[in-house]
């Protein structure tokens, strides 16, 4: 069946086989049993709406018989249709009787077949009309040389007065050899700054606190840290001399602890050995 369907024939080729003589030879030229039935119906040369289904069934069965005699291989759906038509024919000949439950009467079945043939016929006519329409670029044409829409770039500049003056000042300064001297600032925390900071923090230092815990946040890494430790220590020593803080170190190179010197000598030292960090 699918072989038949895949057999792409165009209208011209199909028209050739509609010749009675050719019917027997060209069974493959039909697009299935419905197509064959429609061709046979057309040969009756009456309105398909009024076609005699009995006569049509006879013609179809006759066709199948001759094909069998010629040993033509028939697709299964042709044989299914033949069996169905033989059944329909027998029921049409017999006096009208209701079939088994819900089965349509023979007349109803004939009407349905007639309608399907009409519909296929109508759709084919519609296809012919559709394909006969004037087609774009074959029969009718659009503008052969359409004019493209030009995209114009509206260029605006973002440069501002600031850019202009920066450019001028740097350019002029550069040309006049005038890289003005700006000393490179070494990453050093001034002792004054460290001391000021410590003095501000004194009230907030509750008990012995590790010196390294008192470094400014932004001075905690690398060379900056070393400078901050040194300056803070020097600031602490200065302040210890003035009696403002007390310092304690458990071992050489061990962590140095600081506390508020105003707490008075009566407060015992309570640095637990355990909290002493390793060197």
């Amino acid at each position: 069946m699918s072989e038949t369907a895949e057999n792409f024939e165009d209208f011209e080729a199909a028209a050739i086989v509609r010749d009675d003589e050719a019917l027997l030879v060209h069974v493959d030229g039909f697009e299935g049993p419905l197509d064959l039935l429609l061709t046979l119906a057309r040969n009756q040369k009456v309105d398909i709406a009024k076609i005699s289904i009995l006569k049509l069934a006879d013609q179809y069965l006759e066709f199948i018989e001759s094909a069998k005699k010629l040993n033509l291989e028939l697709a299964a759906d042709y044989l299914v249709m033949a069996a169905w038509l033989a059944y329909l024919k027998s029921r049409l000949i017999l006096p009208q009787e209701k079939g088994p439950d819900g089965e349509p009467t023979a007349d109803e079945m004939a009407t349905r077949l007639r309608w399907r043939l009409q519909r296929l016929d109508a759709m084919r006519a519609a296809a012919t009309r559709l394909m006969g329409r004037e087609r774009l670029d074959r029969d009718v044409f659009g503008r052969g040389d359409p004019e493209a829409v030009n995209v114009i770039k509206l260029r605006t500049y973002k440069d501002t007065m600031y850019d202009l003056l920066t450019a001028y000042a740097t350019e002029r300064a550069r040309k006049l050899g005038g890289k003005s001297y700006r000393p490179q600032m070494a990453p050093v925390l001034a002792i004054e700054e460290a001391r000021e900071r410590l003095e501000r923090m004194l009230g907030k230092i509750s008990d012995w606190s590790a010196l390294t815990g008192l470094l400014p946040f932004e001075w905690q890494g690398g060379a900056r840290r070393r400078s901050a430790v040194a300056s803070t220590l020097l600031a602490c020593l200065e302040m210890a001399r003035d009696g403002k803080v007390e310092l304690q170190q458990m071992a050489p190179f061990a962590e140095i602890f600081v506390r508020d010197g105003q707490r008075g000598p009566d407060v015992p030292s309570n640095i637990p050995e355990a909290t002493t960090p390793g060197a």
Binding site: F8, E9, L130, R143
Partner: protein, 233 residues
Amino acid sequence: MSSVAKMIETIEDQMEVESTEANPEHLRMVEALLFAASEPLDQKALSTSLPEGADIPGLLQALEAVYEKRGVNLCCVAGKYQFRTASDLAFLLRKEQPEQKRLSKAAIETLSIIAYHQPVTRAEIEDIRGVAMSKGTIDILMEIGWIKIRGRKRTPGRPVTYGTTEAFLIQFGLESVAHLPGVDELKAAGFLEAIPPSGFDVPNPSEALGPDEDPYDPNEPEMATGSVNLDEA
């Protein structure tokens, strides 16, 4: 000949004077835009280029009338507007193009059935043609770009439904599928009904989703049977 030219000029002058309410300047603009475009333009596209408040439908109507009997006509295809050479001059311009692999009879019939019956499933196409459809037929039509998968039928198995594309309408010079040749007669005869002549429920070939059709979701798992594929859910 120059007398003709003068006569034409007079006509043009006349047109300019009398059609002030049609805004001849707007008419020129629509004309220029449609002439220049390589693709059909819709009313929205035109309105973005025209001054605000321009009566686009009126202008198009006027332009259509102006060009009605000319060598070039204004056509409405797929709801858009395009100038095309007059169809009776096809003989002058016809180009023998190597038509895309001349369509087979099966493909032509299938295309027509899809056009007139859309939304339509493969099973319905097969019912009308009385023959099983080969995979290639749908593929060819999809490849040309004339048909597309447009939804799914709300029936067991949720089969996909096919319909025609805008390219189809443009190619065949159709304003919409409601303008297919002979569609009214086919409808009146009941041939566009899905079910034999019981009489009710006459479906129009319609680009709108059918009452028992869901929009197509390419991610929806294919279900030949009713079973749910839990892996993909």
